[in-house]
Amino acid sequence: MPDALMLSNISKSFIDKTVLDELNLAVPYGSVFAFLGNNGEGKSTTIRILTGLASPDNGEVVICGEPLFSRHRRLLRRTHGVSVNCAALSLIGGLIDAPSLYPNLTAAEFLSIGCRIKGLSRSEIARVLSVVSLQSSADRVVATFSLGMKQRLAIAHALLGNPKLLILDEPTNGLDPSGIRDIRKLLAELPATTGTTVFFSTHNLDEVEKMATRFAVLKAGSIQFESDITQWKASQQQCQVIEVAKPQQALACLTGQGFNARLLDNGLVEIDTITREQQAAIHRLLIKHDVEIYQSYHKKQSLEQWFTDEHTH
């Protein structure tokens, strides 16, 4: 089975700036794939290319086995001789940046645009509205919607016809906490419920840990790191954090016994650990040296911490 999305050697430049440089990426079927990167690294350009809003200078984009762009000779060379393959576009549902809505239409009228163009029956409107919990607002004019409702409506539009690939740029932007939870749950469940593969970009790394099955980090226009989220979690260093009455004494005690420990700014002591036995040994050692322990907990490095350490410089 081909990948749901495959990018091969994608390059894109604007005047004298190379935004994407030989970008290669494969998104497996049924995955919830997070696309990470700092501002200006080429994330938005990649998403614009994936949704047919921009064309690459070089390379190929294949969606579920269908090439998104075809190159040919054109009368006007300024169009880059690239045209978008509508058959590939019809496999995608997209939400790019802020929702694009027509404020003068009702939610149902707005969705009927996508329905008409994709050749879907009108019952699809009620289905997607209920998926994003907007069924009671079907006949309300979009201009009266809150930002969160607009975001939900845009997601509903992207979900029309159960696309094979859903491409979302910052999908939880503007949502309230319960809306964020609902949308995360919805997106995480989509591969199982409808077979839709989800590809999304976000700056919220907590979201990635909660939703994604795989992620990639874009830097300077090419993929710098890519991994399954479970593999990444397993590979992350774990540590023990303790709060004690005498941190300096505890630190001396632990380093004296060969533990790799350090004193944090907030007075806590952090010790790199490998096994549960080592954790028990730490507690025994501190009690033996008369160091009172107020609290002790096991800590894994978060994706946010990892991303900040590894990819922000």
């Binding site: 694009s100 003068n104 008409r116 163009i117």
Partner: protein
């Protein structure tokens, strides 16, 4: 999913979609109100300037010619600019380009559907002008003017000619509005171009000035000039449409 694939199918779908997008906008209002303003203005002028009970066949003809002149020299070019800006402005204002272009539609299809919609609304507005003209003429008879339907019938027959002659301007304004989000640009073009209609239209250079075709098609004294305008206008409109449709992709999908 049954995405319309053939161009005629796509055009019909996109035409429906573009019509839907005009719901609750001022576009429909413009179609009905702008021709009415022309008639109200000329009705007021007729009532103020002379005793309508003495209206002769010549006066009636002048009144209807006034209707045609004010519409084709002034209001129609502005109406076309406003309609094109509103139809394309819908996308510029609401980031609709992003939505439409991420859907499986061809840019040429979208460009064509918007242009056809502008053309049909222009035809509808010209028909409304004739209808309001009839009401205006009826109002004049209420003020004592003798009933004479002849000149009104002539204006009705000139509506298709006027529409055909307006097509090159319509394509130009559509192309400008498609490209530029700022309504000032298409409106400035319309205002400046409208100012030259009478002067250039009465000269031998009218052929090179699409804005003068509407005047030539409806008000030219000689049939030969009228027919010339009616041959040149659709031919030029077709050529301009083909050329502008080639450019439609630039700065939309190509960027």
């Amino acid at each position: 999913m049954n995405t319309p694939t053939s161009m005629p199918q796509q055009l019909i779908t996109l035409f429906y979609v573009e019509t839907l997008k005009l719901k609750r906008t001022s576009v429909v209002l413009m179609v009905f109100v702008l021709p009415l303003l022309v008639i109200l203005f000329l009705l007021g002028l007729a009532l103020k300037s002379q005793d309508v009970s003495l209206f002769t066949a010549e006066n009636w003809q002048k009144w209807w010619m006034g209707v045609a002149a004010l519409w084709s020299y002034f209001m129609l070019p502005l109406f076309i600019a406003l309609i094109s800006s509103a139809i394309n402005g819908n996308e510029h204002k609401n980031e609709g380009w992003r939505l439409m272009l991420s859907l499986p539609v061809s840019l040429t299809g979208l460009y064509s559907a918007k242009c056809v919609l502008s053309a049909l609304l222009t035809l509808l507005a010209s028909l409304m002008l004739w209808f309001y003209g009839l009401l205006g003429a009826g109002a004049l008879t209420l003020f004592g003017a003798p009933f004479d339907p002849t000149a009104g019938a002539i204006l009705l027959f000139s509506v298709p000619s006027l529409w055909l002659a307006s097509l090159p301007v319509l394509v130009i304004q559509h192309a400008i509005s498609w490209r530029f989000g700022n309504i000032i640009i298409p409106l400035s073009v319309a205002v400046v171009a409208t100012m030259g209609i009478v002067q250039i239209g009465s000269s031998e250079f009218w052929v090179y000035y699409p804005w003068s075709y509407m005047m030539m098609a409806t008000l030219a004294g000689n049939d030969e000039l009228r027919q010339q305008a009616l041959v040149i206008a659709p031919a030029l409109a077709t050529a301009l449409f083909w050329l502008s449709a080639q450019f439609a992709a630039i700065n939309k999908r190509a960027g």
